[in-house]
Every structure is written in structure tokens, then in C-alpha cells.
Symmetry: C2
Subunit: 247 residues, 2 copies
């Protein structure tokens, strides 16, 4: 299936780093000639571009233009950015917006970074699992139970960044408690040295399609600071109208 090749090539750029033909060829295990042709075509259509004078490629503007259509249909960023900035100024830690990608994953779409020198700074756009980290859990906990069970069914367990081991049962009880209290919390689950709190964001139909979370380095972003962050997130979630459409 050629689309898979195309997507595989595009996914190589998820880290944001410009790549050459050979690097892409290695990461995708496709022949250099094949990669060259694919990249040329993607560039012709504006999905990749190369800095003038460089041989390296990076994601191009056509991607932005297409996604602008998708984004404008459910404009979480426009709706939430002013409040995210306000939250950052109030709490002092990085405020992040995550969007659900599919049944298994989400990605950080946007972040308003803390001004501290030591701060949380997420990788934008890279898919991450829903079952670890406060951004993902805040979404997963409020999805339909059937969907959550599907995800946890084929699940053998996973290790957190802190080295802790999570079984599907431990995740399930975690999610249930999140559902009860209304917010998620995590410490060193995906990012070593980081901790955070998050709340779900619902669309007009009441589906959890995104989450807003605040994360910071472990010593500084203390229990009490997290308590304040949770209160701020909750009051914000209440006042912000639900999105017009599911993404």
C-alpha cells in the first residue's frame, strides 16, 4: 500500500529535524531510489520542502494549509489559547493542549511554555499512548467504557519513565479514580523528572476529544502548586463552552 510508504516517510519528520534521503531510507528501510522518488513527489505537492541551498528536507506548508481546514472546524487552539496563556501566567508552569488521535493515542497540539529556565517542553505532534501521562489519561478516563476496555484488552503491561510497572488493572483503577475526581495526575510516567495534572475537554456531543494539562519539573511543581493548578483548570473547563464539533 503506497499510502503507508508516504505516511512512513512523513512520520520520519515527527521529531522536527530536517532529514536527508539516506537518513529517511534508513529509518523506513526503503531503497534510496524509492525514497528519492517519494520525497520528490511529496515536495512537488508541497508536503515537504528543502531550505534553499540545503539537501535536507522538512515538512512543508501544504500540510499546514490542509490542516488549517481541519483545525478551523473545531478550533480548540483559538478557543483555548488566551486561557492557556492566562494559566501559564497564573501557575508559572508550561500549559499544554492534547488532542485525541485514535483509540490508542493522542498528541500535544500546542504548548504555552513556562518562563522558568528549567521547564516542561513537550514534543509537538508526536503521537503518545493514552494510558500513560496526565494528558492522555485525562482523555481516556472519559471515553466510553467499551473503548477503554478494547484498549486495555490486548494490554500486557507497561513501564513508566520512573521504572514503575503498570498492569492493565492498575491503569483501570487509576482511570476510575480520575473519572471520579474529574482530573488526572501523573508523575514520571512518560517524562523523567516531570509531573503534571490535566482535565478533559469535551465536544458538543459530550465526547472527550482533548485535554488541557499543566506540567513542570518534579521538585518545583509541588503538591500545593498542583492543587492550585487543578482548581484553575477546573474553573476554566467549566466556563469554556464545549467545542462545536469533534475533531
Amino acid at each position: 500500500m503506497l499510502i503507508d510508504r508516504l505516511v512512513d516517510v512523513l512520520e520520519c519528520f515527527e521529531r522536527g529535524k530536517p532529514l536527508g534521503i539516506t537518513e529517511i531510507s534508513e529509518q523506513t528501510s526503503l531503497a534510496k531510489g524509492t525514497v528519492h522518488r517519494i520525497v520528490t513527489n511529496l515536495r512537488r505537492r508541497g508536503f515537504l520542502e528543502q531550505k534553499t541551498g540545503s539537501k535536507r528536507y522538512r515538512l512543508g506548508p501544504r500540510l499546514l494549509s490542509l490542516s488549517a481546514v481541519a483545525a478551523s472546524q473545531n478550533d480548540l487552539v483559538q478557543r483555548l489559547l488566551p486561557q492557556m496563556i492566562q494559566l501559564r501566567d497564573q501557575i508559572g508552569e508550561t500549559v499544554l493542549l492534547s488532542i485525541r488521535l485514535d483509540e490508542q493515542s493522542h498528541f500535544t497540539a500546542y504548548q504555552v511554555e513556562s518562563f522558568h529556565s528549567i521547564r516542561m517542553s513537550a514534543q509537538i505532534g508526536k503521537p503518545r499512548p493514552l494510558f500513560l501521562g496526565c494528558g492522555g489519561k485525562a482523555i481516556l478516563a472519559f471515553r466510553p467504557v467499551a473503548e477503554r476496555d478494547r484498549l486495555l484488552a490486548g494490554f500486557t503491561g507497561s513501564q513508566t519513565a520512573a521504572g514503575e510497572y503498570r498492569t492493565s488493572d492498575s491503569i483501570r483503577t487509576d482511570l476510575e479514580s480520575i473519572r471520579r475526581v474529574g482530573y488526572s495526575k501523573s508523575t514520571e510516567e512518560l517524562t523523567p523528572g516531570a509531573t503534571g495534572v490535566g482535565v478533559p475537554i469535551f465536544d458538543f456531543a459530550g465526547d472527550a476529544i482533548a485535554s488541557l494539562y499543566i506540567a513542570g519539573p518534579l521538585p518545583r511543581f509541588s503538591e500545593t502548586a498542583q492543587g492550585e493548578a487543578i482548581r484553575a483548570l477546573e474553573s476554566m473547563a467549566r466556563q469554556s463552552a464545549s467545542a462545536r464539533e469533534a475533531v
Copy 2:
């Protein structure tokens, strides 16, 4: 080339309207069976999705996640959104951000809409020519001369929304005057009944990669209001640091 088929299918969704297999098949003049397979694959990869219970498709979240990577590398929106809101509140008309797509075109990536009932509201994401409309001209006027000449070379002339006829020469003198005064102005070039003013946005290398413009309905957005808008845009362009990277 299969990528063209994929892009053609994706481009059908540029208007933002959900589409069925048959509609896509008509717009792309591909066989229904072919469209069905392509759409299924695009959906499998998250580039399209269908509202639960509907047969219609629309752009999916994977597009957002990939473009978030591209967007985060040169975050015009994050940089400019607060100022765009401020501009909208000051001038009262819709403020728009356009990004250059290639040598011929740009697209509106973002708009902060006027509160007036009668207001400019652009189609987000749809590519538009650079040589008409204040958003495009503000970019084109400040591109390298060779590039502008390439665009105007194979140019036979074009009609504005008002019915006026523009030759490549008339566009050239227009662009030169824009370059001289530092801002662009247009009236009913692309949108009947609309008028606007715009300024270019440069990246760190000094290339014009985007534009910020303000547009409104003809009777209301008067000469004097446009004068104020230009002054506001210019002071904003001066204070806002140049972008870190070309898009």
C-alpha cells in the same frame, strides 16, 4: 503517480464540507471503487475520519498532528495571535494571517473575526493566488524580483471580483508601489464587497513568508479606518520579532 490521487482526494475537503464516496468520485473523476479504496486507506491512517453513524468523511486528526510539527517550527500563530486579537478589538474588522504556500499561492491560516454581523470571514486553508488580494500581494511584493517575474512571465491577465481586468504590467506597478509604501491595499479583487490592507511578515532570513491583513465590508471599512488599520499593522510588524525559521 499515486500521491497525486491521494492529494486530489484530500483537496476535495478544502471547503470543509463532509463528503461521501460518490461526491469525491465526481470531483476527482476517479472510479468509485478506486475512491473507496483510497478513502479507506486514508481513514486507516487517520487522515480522514467519519462522524460515527455517518457515511460522510472529513479531514482527520492525523493531519493536525503532523502539521503541528511543521507549525511549531515557525510558530507564527502563537507569535501573532495575541496581537491579532488586539488588532481586531482596536479596528473592529476581521484580522487574517496568510502563509505563503509556493511561488504562486498562499492560504489564510488563521483569522480573528470581527464582531460585526456583516464581516469578512475567509475560507481557511484554501490556496489563493499571490497576485490578487491584499494578503497575497503583501507577500509577493517583497519576494525576490526573479521569483515575481517568473510568476508574471506566463501571465496573460486576470479579472478581479469587481470585473476589473489586470494585466501583468498593472500588477507589476501595483507591487512596486506596495514595496515603496510598505503595505498592500485591495478592493474587491478576490471577494466582492470586501476591501482590506496588509503588511508582509519576514522570517529571520528576511524572506517574506506570510502576511497579516485586515479586511472588512466596503461601505464600513472606509479610507480613514483603513489608514488607522495600516498604522496599527505597521507598528505591530515593527515590534514583533522576525520568525525563527521559514515555514
